[in-house]
């Protein structure tokens, strides 16, 4: 195989070649590092590339595999993680100049588990400052969308989306507080899973909202997503909220057998007046295609869906401000302008407002779980529109603008963060916008710990459609 073609393999296909010793981990790492050097000057998807560390880890993986110490599907496979996760001896910035010199003295649990699985860490990926999803200035370079460099790759796991879509890593980790995995997956034509809250450890992850944050995979295929989740899922004594329960074999669950499942189409999302017409048509067709695979399709209701963005914003603002309280007093000017506004807002929000947001959250959760009583999976668009143009000007010009930003016109993801259930975005087509093809995502959500079922349904859909085979023009 031509070395330059290696990065275009799926993670599982690459892992299979490595397992059969038809390709060495060192060749794979070198191929990815070469491509990062050639392409990432345009995309700015990486904040830090760990070239020497990756090559050393690849040599060690090669030696281990030769002596028969094979660790599984990710052994020798080059991966990258959002710069929100601690990496021992490698700076972890959170996308902020405040942490420009932060060198953790240990790995986040998810990073440690990827390494235990034999994955090769290529580097740390760009992101919105402290995962708020609202920053304009990116101190380590503005991340661009590989499908159209003038557009946003999605927030806040921007680099995870851009790098994975551009084949600058085989698979990646992002973090999702209000949609920060599914939004880049939507914008970049990828599979992104926000796992059930409690399935994946938060230890060593820079926090945005303690009650909604969770790490998860962003990958080019559902199978890659499954093996990446497999590596990081499971109880961690250092995160007391991780569930102490067996982790299923997610890859083995990708059987294609979905006949008889019930899918609930969320009517408040599909009938929303703000839905881009091409998104509505494309997601509608995707749901019809699922029906052809033997699932039954019915309409369900989540009445609070259109308020989820505001509720999410209120909770995120308060919990972020609590994390950043000391720096808000001493280093306010070092934050992006929009982040300053959001954190200050959270810092002074009246307690009764936050309390009401929590009550609305619980009601929202009940509505989601009620919809899932009769249905196995919920379906709706991942976003109301394809990737937007890159942001240029920070700031709020009026209260009405602030209200528009928070009123959920673009966010269809936060409702599942409030409910702490798993949700996934899988590519389901493209919108033609100003001469460019921009990806559209189908969002699937499920009951707590039904992550495997979401992967199964997404895989069956993916394998019956061509969308995952298309690559961005870069």
């Amino acid at each position: 195989m031509n070395k330059a073609d290696i990065p275009f393999l799926s993670a599982t296909a690459l892992g299979a070649l490595i397992r059969k010793k038809e390709l060495s981990p060192l060749e794979a790492a070198e191929a990815y590092l070469d491509r990062i050097e050639a392409v990432d000057g345009v995309l700015h998807s990486y904040i830090t590339v760990c070239r020497e560390e990756a090559l050393q880890a690849a040599r060690e993986a090669e030696q281990a595999i030769v002596r028969g110490d094979y660790r599984g599907a990710l052994h020798g496979v080059p991966v990258a993680v959002k710069d929100q996760f601690w990496t021992k001896g490698v700076r972890t910035t959170g996308g902020s100049r405040i942490l420009a010199d932060f060198l953790p003295n240990e790995d986040a649990t998810v990073v440690a588990r990827l390494k235990q699985a034999g994955a090769i860490l290529l580097g740390k990926l760009n992101m919105s400052e402290f995962a708020t999803g609202n920053s304009v200035v990116h101190p380590y370079g503005m991340p661009h969308n590989p499908w159209d460099p003038g557009r946003n790759p999605g927030t806040s796991s921007s680099g995870s989306g851009a790098a994975t879509a551009a084949c600058l890593c085989a698979t990646s980790l992002g973090e999702d507080t209000g949609g920060s995995i599914r939004n880049p997956a939507n914008n970049c034509g990828l599979v992104g899973l926000r796992p059930t809250w409690g399935l994946v450890s938060r230890y060593g992850m820079l926090g945005a909202s303690w009650s909604m944050d969770i790490a998860g995979p962003i990958s080019r295929t559902v199978e890659d997503c499954a093996v990446t989740l497999q590596a990081i899922a499971g109880h961690d004594p250092r995160d007391p909220y991780t569930a102490n329960r067996p982790v299923p074999d997610y890859r083995a669950g990708l059987t294609g057998q979905v006949r008889g499942l019930r899918i609930g189409v969320v009517k408040e999302a599909m009938n929303a007046d703000f839905l881009h017409p091409q998104v509505k048509a494309t997601v509608g067709k995707a749901i019809a295609d699922l029906g052809k695979l033997g699932v039954s399709v019915e309409e369900v209701s989540i009445p609070l869906l259109d308020r989820a963005a505001a509720v999410t914003r209120a909770i995120l603002a308060v919990e972020s401000a609590a994390i950043h309280h000391d720096w808000l007093r001493t280093r306010l000017q070092d934050y992006d302008h929009n982040v300053q506004i959001d954190f200050l807002t959270g810092g002074i929000m009246p307690a009764q407002l936050y309390y009401k947001a929590q009550q609305l959250r619980e009601l929202t959760r009940r509505q989601v779980l009620k919809a899932l009583e009769a249905m196995d999976v919920l379906a709706l668009p991942s976003s109301s529109e394809p990737a937007a143009l890159l942001p240029t000007a920070p700031g709020l010009k009026s209260k009405e603008k602030a209200r528009q930003r928070m009123s959920g016109r673009r966010s269809l993801t936060g409702v599942f963060n409030l409910a702490n259930v798993p949700a996934l975005s899988v590519p389901c087509g493209f919108a033609a916008v100003e001469g460019k093809d921009l990806p559209i995502g189908l969002q699937l959500a499920g009951r707590p710990f039904a992550d495997g079922l979401l992967l199964k349904v997404a895989h069956a859909y993916e394998q019956s459609t061509p969308w995952h085979t298309r690559r961005p023009p870069i």
Binding site: Y241, A317, L328, R329, D342, I348, A357, L363, P448, F449
Partner: protein, 67 residues
């Protein structure tokens, strides 16, 4: 509900040890008052009876889990 004034916002800030000055103060006022409006408008039935327990680790097994 009337908007919070800038002076009131500055006072809220001082109560938690944060000084908010212009030009940020104007934008914080837009942001917080917009959020108050949005949440004030939402009053679904049964809201006041809801106990806001944001984190309930869902330890029940899903019938669709594999393995």
């Amino acid at each position: 509900m009337a908007d919070l004034s800038k002076d009131e916002l500055k006072t809220l800030g001082r109560a938690v040890g944060i000084e908010i000055e212009e030009p940020l103060l104007t934008e914080v006022a837009y942001n917080l008052n917009a959020l108050r409006d949005l949440l004030e408008d939402v009053n679904p039935p049964g809201l006041v009876q809801v106990e806001p327990l944001p984190i309930i680790p869902p330890h029940e097994r899903s019938p669709h889990e594999q393995g």
